[in-house]
Symmetry: D2
């Protein structure tokens, strides 16, 4: 599996005084699409696995905002795998609202054992890595 699209509706509390969705909420929309992708693979952004609590702190995020999204619009968030590393994942995102391109983005999350002393990186468990493919042509995009 290398991609997924989730849809959500803009809520009133997602907006700001400019009358549009606050950009931080669009970034959270992307985060949630990543989480949905992991769940579609039988995993989770917060899961216990073989005695270890695994989390996926992000180390890099970027977003480009192309057009405003507004209250009550449906936003389709497309997530795809740009790069599957041994210990990290880089995802690419595209968000459309009512057919308009609202924004694009990229996130890199690291597979971590979540310990009392903080996150410690670890290899992505095989059961999960086996189910993840990079999106066609993504090598160049992610470089």
């Amino acid at each position: 599996m290398h991609e997924l699209t989730v849809r959500r509706k803009v809520e009133f509390s997602d907006t700001d005084m400019a009358g549009i969705v606050h950009f931080s909420r669009l970034i959270i929309f992307m985060e949630n699409a990543e989480h949905a992708f992991l769940e579609a693979l039988g995993a989770s952004v917060s899961m216990d696995y073989e005695g270890v609590h695994i989390g996926w702190p992000r180390v890099a995020v970027e977003a480009q905002f192309k057009a405003p999204a507004r209250f009550n619009e449906h936003v389709d968030i497309h997530v795809e795998v740009l790069k599957k590393g041994t210990r990290s994942m880089t995802y690419g995102f595209e968000m459309h609202a009512s057919g308009r391109l609202v924004g694009t983005g990229k996130m890199t999350s690291v597979c971590c054992e979540m310990t009392d002393k903080g996150p410690r990186s670890m290899p992505i468990p095989a059961f999960l890595a086996d189910r993840i493919e990079e999106a066609p042509g993504s090598d160049t995009e992610a470089s």
Copy 2:
């Protein structure tokens, strides 16, 4: 000690498309005033004490909104102790922005041992309870 006032400035991300502070942010302003009150007493809403991790989940919140607060205004949040129980605290709040009464509120938080299985109520530690007084005349208000 029975009261405290904290001041904060309304941030852009506190607002919504109605051009004013979203009410959920005003409730968070109240929560933070409660936290500041605990800190002024040498405690914290999240603290380790005698081998126990203590938290203060709230069981009841209410707020009345009297006037809008706007971007960049300073909001003064006054918190006072309405009731000091054995295992819980009830706080009263008043918020002013630029001299206008923006809102009032009340919160009840329970002193809890935070365990892996969830919060479990416990008596407020004596060192802290000893430092807390009810605000004058608050008996009637809190009933």
Copy 3:
């Protein structure tokens, strides 16, 4: 129509360091159920109607938290009409997650013309008021 239930899934960003949903997010869940109720009636919390821009600022909110809600749980938010006033609505809420009662609440929102100078209360438009009924037995609850 006098009630509605909406379902949503708890997102990672809804949680706090206590490992559970932050109470302010549960209050936003209630707000969104109110908005869904208005939409089910062909209205909206932010709508243009006969040359007027109508909004529904809330003047009072309360919530009681009964049990924690956790990441990835589905929360069912039931909203019902406790009181239909001439210019305001009072809603009652019940939230369940995985069968547990997570919280209850109440909100009063005022029908307002949203002007440049701020909100001004106005009678609920007839087309909408006609479609709203109070929940059976709600007179006593709302008093």
Copy 4:
């Protein structure tokens, strides 16, 4: 003027179930440092000027997260001007908590007339542009 540092304290509601500040809040911390920079220059991210309402929607955001920030820590957010364009500004950010580098970032915001039909880019007003300098050596960084 080409830089500014603002300090804020991590609030409970800034955290998530991983026990650390949610990354979206760090991005909002950067946004607020940008707003503080504009204010220090006698402007605002939302201001009326010569009959026009000016806003600064962002078109690009990026952040790299280096270490977790925790509840109650003070975070120092340093903002500097990487590029002063005719109609846009690119800012660079560095965030430290208790001496640790927590994150870095970059934002590009466009000076816009905020109209009923949405934002429309415009030249940065001279009074403001005159007060802004690029940080020394920033040409290379921003490219």
